[in-house]
Amino acid sequence: MQRLTYAQALQQATSQAMELDERVFLMGQLVDYRGGVFGTTTGLAEKFGTTRVRDFPVAESVMTSTAIGAAITGMRPVLVHTRLDFMLYSMDAIVNWLSLWRFKSNGKSSMPVTIRAIVGKGWGQGPQHSKSLHAWFAHVPGLRVAVPVTPFDAKGLLLESIFGENPTIIVEHRSLFSLTEDVPEVPYRIRFGRARIRRPGKDLTLVAIGAMVPIALRAAEKLAAQSIDVEVLDPRTVSPIDTAAICQSVMKTGRLVVADPAWQSVSVAAEIIALVTEKMGDRLRANPLRICLPDSHTPMSSTLEKEYYPDESKVAEAISSWFRR
């Protein structure tokens, strides 16, 4: 075990993947500069050269297309977008080509492409640097979507993506990059669709997605002081999503809250509630609750940002008043 930050865990996963297989290569703007992309690509250009660690033109669309073409020849490309918002230039490549490539080839051609998309938060990132669109990608068949929260998960899910056969989008929240955890040195994998209980509890199930996990855990501590025993479940991947684990938890607690760092309408939070109510709505002791971002674009001003993003106090208050209703 070694103590790594989230950024270091991503860097290590990439470095190990490139050592294990020379067909793995990295593309993204500024990936080969000192410091790398928030520490996640540091040292890779020096170690593997700029042929495999490729700075890319400001052309996200063809970057994704290029990854698709390279995958056809047997390569395993990893793309990184310093902000998910820029990646939207490549929606055609992702939705019209990448996601359905295997399908339309009738399983004859696979697409081991990994796309890392970083979501900004705070310091006035504003509406074009802060969108967490995991729900969009999870909506599209043929894509896998991971939302790792801890360094351990970041490394294992990135390696699993790189050496899997399916296109994968990893949504990484910038606010998590300095968090630390013990991480195994070996190259390891975490399978998709396996949730993790981050805190056991008996009164309600709080499914927290991505950046909401640490906030949910701290809110759970506040609620424990009010004698509300919260089980916090981190799905780790939203496509596929571990429906069984979520239902099992709700079966125990009888109550469901979903905290999702995205707009509320047509969200993954909505999907989770639909999944649970479809399967076991009659076992719920209360109507489910969503704690999401308002259905609004992100404001810049710091006071408005504070209002916009739910923090642990707001999550605790929302759950407390809902629970006692």
């Binding site: 075990m1 297989d21 067909r23 290569f25 928030f38 033109p57 052309a59 669309s61 063809v62 297309s65 290029t66 990854a67 698709i68 073409g69 390279a70 995958a71 056809i72 020849t73 902000r83 055609d92 019209n96 080509w97 295997r102 399908f103 339309k104 080839s105 009738n106 399983g107 004859k108 051609s109 696979s110 081991p112 705070g122 310091w123 990132q125 068949p141 294992g156 390696l159 699993e160 050496f163 899997g164 056969e165 399916n166 910038r174 606010s175 998590l176 968090l179 630390t180 955890e181 991480v183 195994p184 070996v186 390891y188 994998r189 975490i190 399978r191 396996r194 993790r196 640490p214 501590e221």
Partner: protein, 374 residues
């Protein structure tokens, strides 16, 4: 280089420049045979399309545009990659993918090239390194990646991106051209300029009809030519492919040509009034097959008897392909997830240890550091 565009071609009225000189008879026969086979194939599919209505997918026929696929058929090897647009049949056959699987695909059968899942405008034949797609310029952009993959793997092969001039309305194609030039990718871009995006002519969509000049500005070797002269097209593609294989970076070829039929399906769409009768007549009079055939007859390397025999062979293959397609079963999908996502990951199995979680507590009290900037 004399400037060429649709207007200059029309003004010249008849084309007299086709010359067999410098092309060996074997290649000439190959080009002719391929174009004839493709034409017969498209005509047969057109006849069967309606009223039988057993091919229940959009089909874009390439009648009149046989020369470019013929040149590629003669020049590309198994290891080379070919990506094209929705008007796919010529390219599919150019890469030596089997005709019967093409037909079965159009009929939506399990025995089709993609098990009946893709149809005409999305067909691929991965074993033959052939791929297509219906969204303009998307496949051309992907081809830059195949060329990059080949470059990274040090494979000696060429990737060909074939598209129409309408794909050059799209920004992504220019991103791909820039990247190909930047990295000296082993790729040949071939633009079949057939003037129209469905009904809309090039000069209604683009500020100028100088695509080859625009591409040349990127430092890409670039040529524009009359695309119904199969010999000329073959010679240009050969120069490009050889140069690319020798590591000298990308090429761009603009081949002026014309689609005889409507944009989609077997019927004419001329009722819309988007093109003149004279224009259609000109291009029909300058048919790529007839131009070559006349030259071959003049050179004494084709007789009527040989032509009849070739047609008989081709028609027999077409009849067999229809039989194969019609006789095949329809596909059945029981697991929708399986057809979209692979459930196997052999490379991960080989290289990675399974660790689902570690029994250390993730410290929730650690401070989330707000980056002051990005």
């Amino acid at each position: 280089m004399t400037k060429i565009n649709h207007q200059s071609i029309l003004e010249a009225s008849a084309y007299h420049d086709l010359s067999l000189q410098g092309t060996d008879a074997d290649t000439v026969r190959k080009l002719y045979y391929f174009m004839l086979r493709l034409r017969r194939c498209e005509e047969a599919l057109s006849r069967e399309y309606h009223p039988a209505d057993e091919m229940r997918c959009p089909v874009h026929f390439c009648i009149g545009q046989e020369a470019v696929p013929a040149a590629l058929n003669a020049l590309l090897r198994a290891e080379d990659y070919l990506f094209c647009h929705h008007r796919s049949h010529g390219y599919y056959l150019a890469k030596k993918s089997p005709m019967n699987e093409l037909f079965a695909e159009l009929y939506g059968k399990k025995t089709g090239a993609n098990g009946g899942i893709a149809g005409s405008q999305d067909i691929s034949s991965p074993p033959h390194n052939f791929f297509s797609g219906a969204i303009l310029a998307g496949a051309a952009a992907i081809s830059a990646g195949a060329a990059l993959g080949a470059q990274l793997l040090k494979k000696r092969c060429v990737t060909v991106a074939a598209f129409g001039e309408a794909a050059m309305d799209e920004g992504i194609l220019w991103e791909a051209i820039n990247y190909a030039a930047l990295c000296k990718l082993p790729i040949v871009f071939i633009c079949e300029n057939n003037k129209y995006s469905v009904f809309s002519p090039q000069l209604k969509r683009q500020a100028a009809d100088n695509l080859s000049e625009r591409v040349a500005a990127f430092g890409i070797k670039s040529v524009a030519l009359f695309g119904n002269d199969a010999i000329k097209v073959h010679a240009a593609v050969k120069v490009a492919v050889d140069d690319v294989l020798n590591g000298h970076g990308p090429w761009f070829i603009e081949a002026y040509t014309y689609r005889w039929c409507g944009h989609y399906g077997p019927e004419s769409d001329d009722i819309v009034g988007y093109r003149s009768e004279e224009e259609v007549d000109f291009w029909k009079a300058n048919c790529p097959i007839v131009l070559l055939e006349e030259a071959m007859k003049r050179a004494g390397i084709l007789t009527d008897a040989e032509k009849d025999r070739t047609i008989r062979d081709i028609d027999a293959e077409i009849a067999d392909s229809f039989q194969f397609a019609k006789g095949g079963d329809f596909p059945i999908i029981t697991n929708w997830r399986e057809v979209n996502l692979s459930s196997n990951s052999p490379r991960a199995d080989e290289l990675l240890t399974d660790i689902d979680f570690v029994e250390t507590e993730f410290d929730v009290h650690q401070a989330v550091k707000q980056a002051k900037g990005y």
